[in-house]
């Protein structure tokens, strides 16, 4: 299951949004080492998707775009196919975030509003089964 979501700005090298979804709080001391590991990759990776094993239980999927990167942290038991489905959610979040984020004109209100819609996207994706799973559930 997805544990948390973090958006990094490559310009400032810091997390702009770090929100807990599952059991692990990205702002907790227990996660700080993992957060540093993620930051290293997320702020340096130019473009693309990178999977980073954090420890025996956690894996981070980092999607880098120009200027920003979106990271989801999962339990390692997550299936590869499900990880790739989350990739499309990360892509959508990245595209939308780039529209509200301007490194030269940082607007905290816009960022916190975006956090709400990002959580909505994630919750929807969690709640709804993938089309393949729905087909298997109803017909196949």
């Amino acid at each position: 299951m997805i544990e948390n979501a973090i958006i990094f700005s490559k310009d400032i090298g810091e997390a702009l949004i770090a929100t807990q979804i599952g059991d692990i709080d990205p702002n907790s001391d227990a996660f700080s080492e993992s957060l540093n590991q993620i930051r290293d990759i997320a702020t340096k990776l130019e473009r693309g998707v990178f999977k980073l094993g954090l420890n025996e239980q956690l894996i981070a999927q980092i999607l880098a775009e120009k200027g920003i990167s979106v990271t989801f942290v999962f339990k390692t038991s997550m299936d590869d196919k499900i990880l790739s489905q989350w990739e499309s959610v990360a892509k959508e979040i990245a595209v939308k975030f780039k529209k509200v984020y301007d490194p030269n004109d940082f607007d905290i209100v816009k960022i916190s509003e975006f956090k709400k819609s990002m959580l909505e996207m994630i919750e929807w994706h969690k709640k709804e089964l993938s089309p393949i799973d729905k087909m298997k559930d109803a017909l196949w």
């Binding site: 790739s84 489905q85 993938s130």
Partner: protein, 276 residues
Amino acid sequence: MADIPQNPKLGSIIIVGFVIVAVFTVVIMLFAKYLSREKLPALTLTITFLFWGLSGIAVFLGFILHYINMPDINTLIPAGEIQYSRYGINLGYLFSAASNMFMVLFISQIFSQTPMFRRTKKTIPLVNAILNGITIGLIINTLSLSLKTVADGADITEVYNPQYPIAQTIYHLILTLFSFTLLLALSYKERKDASLRWERTGFTFIILYGFSGIMIYVMFVLDLIFPLILPDIFGLGYTIFNYSGWVFAILMCTFAYLGYAMPKRLRNLLKEPEVN
């Protein structure tokens, strides 16, 4: 002034009969899936095909009654008497529009996880239902106008002779194109993401089902257009396009059976051998 329809050809009637058998085979298979699993998308898809089957029955009955009353292809049912095939075709389009409504609802249920349906929730199936409702309203209006008599001021050729104007047929084609293209696009994307061969094949059949579904209505529109622009070659109706439309309907049902019902034997055949 309305025209008098051509008499249906026996070949056309027989092929519609085959289509009905094919559609109801799919309806029974899908309903069995619903009964065993009680999942809403299975029921929605069953209703989609049920309406399509009713569409086929309406056309079939219209053709049969027309044929019984006037089996000679060269002699038309006189003006002022009931033009059965026209009632059948109009009711066929009415049920087809109802089928379209449920098809988009089914798409919204299966592909609910996609950003499009997350953002719009049930707006797309609702708007689609309203637009198809317009088709149904237009057809009901056409049918009620055909009940006007000469005493009510109707032309004798319009009495018991509901038309199906090209504009209305094209409007229905556009809505059908929308629903099948939506299914095609989403299934194509899902097919790319599927990791197992049998899942990919399932979506391939659904894509082929969507393509056949579009081709049915394209053929029916061509069956209307070509006799108008090239009457010397295509005669007055029931052209090769009409037959082709119904052949695509049989193909659509075959692909629907393979893609939606997916027989166990086929799935087992497509399953990759397990790696030890």
